[in-house]
Amino acid sequence: MSDPQMVMDESLQRVEPQESAVGERGERLAASSIEMKGLHKRFGNDAVALNGVDLTIRAGEFFTLLGPSGCGKTTLLRILAGLEEADDGTLIIGGKDVTEEPPHRRSVNTVFQSYALFPHLSVRENLAFGLKMRGVGAQEREAKVAEVANLIQLGELVDRRIDQLSGGQRQRIALARALVCEPDVLLLDEPLSALDAGLRSQLQVELLRVQKRLGMTFVFVTHDQQEAMVMSDRIAVLNGGNIQQIGSPREIYETPINVFVARFMGHDNLYAITEREGCRVTTPVGTLELEGGSEGEFVLIRPETLDLKLGHVAGTNHLPGRITERLYRGSHAEYRIAIGATSLQATVNNRGHHLPDVGDEVTLVVSSEDLVTLSE
């Protein structure tokens, strides 16, 4: 297995599709883009699952739909797969309008959350299922199955029955079963959620490796923002059937556009602006100096952008407070600091020098460019 750190570094740059592991069909690797226009879906009479979603996913992109359960991300994925019909709107995959196409006529494959491997078939027969249904000859099937089993490094398992596989193995077989059909788009519905943490991060790396190598368009659904950030080229955050924000992991994490996205990405230091005078704003933690041109009713202070100074020091964007809690995490420490009636979180890297302790009076320092304003 390749070094995880390297793969992650790779993932930060956009990798152009180079060589195919599945067949030598260069033309397919100009992978397909997806265009969604005004997708609406409701279940029953009141539950709105999608409320007019417009979204374009680029060819060859690892795109993640992120949101809490019930936000519509799974419905959107199922509409892409054709397993659910949109009430309204258009869906174009690879330049072709597939809104009305049933799933078996779409060049789209899904890795299901439960894997959905056929229990009556062996691993080999599971892998070959899609090809067989498409009328691919036995010899070609055999070759492709061998190739894909090789790709996911499970060649020795092909003659097992499904109930002889571990969770991680099942996950990889489910991935391979979808990949072997060489779809225009691969959909992944929380494919790692059933695995334990260690296996999960290992398979995250593996999934990325496969995606980069094939240059295929991946649409990934998850509710785990950490996973989304590690994996994705771009992320769409959904809530209540609406897209809240689309952007790269850094954009979503560092400059969330609203309170929902910020909270969902794990931010706690959100303060309502009570008074505004040019670039100077008043918040419950004190007066802050923002960069010019920033708008919005809330200000976000990311814990890792704060500097901690012992004692009370005056200055712009200097916030005096008292440490009420310290969580020592080895590489860093997390602090909760009381300021007036409210409190603030700060993360301090452990560089070996003195780590302030509970009860210490400190001053938090943040630079204007690290402050983000956002709307409700």
């Binding site: 005004g38 609406h40 019909e85 009430d87 309204d88 709107g89």
Partner: protein, 306 residues
Amino acid sequence: MSKTTAVIGRRQAIVRETRHLLFTVTPGAAWIFIFLVLPSAYLMSVAFMSNGPYGLPEMPLSLTSFQQLAGQGFLGWSPGNLLTLMRSLWQTVLSTVLVVLVAYPIAYYISQADIRWRPIMLLAVVVPSWTNQVIRTFGWMNLLAPGTPLAELAEAMGMIAPNMGLYPSNFAVTLGLVYNFLPFMVLPLYAAFEKLNFALVEAARDLYASPFKAFWHAVFPQTLPGLLAGVVLVAIPAFGMYVIPELLGGGKGMMLGNLVANQFAGSANWPLGAAGAILMLIATFIGLYAMRRIGKRLGGGEEVVI
């Protein structure tokens, strides 16, 4: 525009699903409707007709059949039919109670056995019921006939007259019913014991001194849903039983099933038979309904009624 296309798309989906539902369900539903619902409805209507010359139903409508069922004949009132009804009820209650008394310890014993043996033990209880009911009853006729060890034992104890078998008799019918329905009670009771929460039993051991109290407060309530399911499975078919009283009961052991069946054979009187069938149906549905109510109250919910 988009609103209407949405509505049309949705309606098309509903039409498609409904067509699928009809395609899959219609053959079976129609079969049961035509060959069971209609016939039963016809049978019920027969009960409200007059008795014709060959026992066949005739117009005009009348309630004579129900009066006859209650014992009214052209020679005046006779208790025969009512006795048969009472006997059916009594046999049902008695055999159900006896089945419970046998099945309860058996189901418990199986649930406490080594897990490898349990399926085999259950199978051992069920296998005899795979044999045809007529044959099983015939087996008892062999065992209870005059001159057999069982009959001679009963004779020696002065329970029966010399050279008489143990059948035909009400005793033989009860025995046959218990034999026939035992597996139907063991299975649901076993399922209940299998699910038994032994933490509660341990707790009860702590709280109550006597084992009987522990059983009554911790074990019995947990097996009640299974017990009720078993009672439904035993009592309803027992009340309508035909084969066992016919072979083991003779004239004095007759039950409602025989009374009904006779009206469609030799001494034909279809309306009277149909009236008896209605009575049986009413008893069946009252039984099902009561069990459902009790089951719901116990929180067993749907699974109590199979």
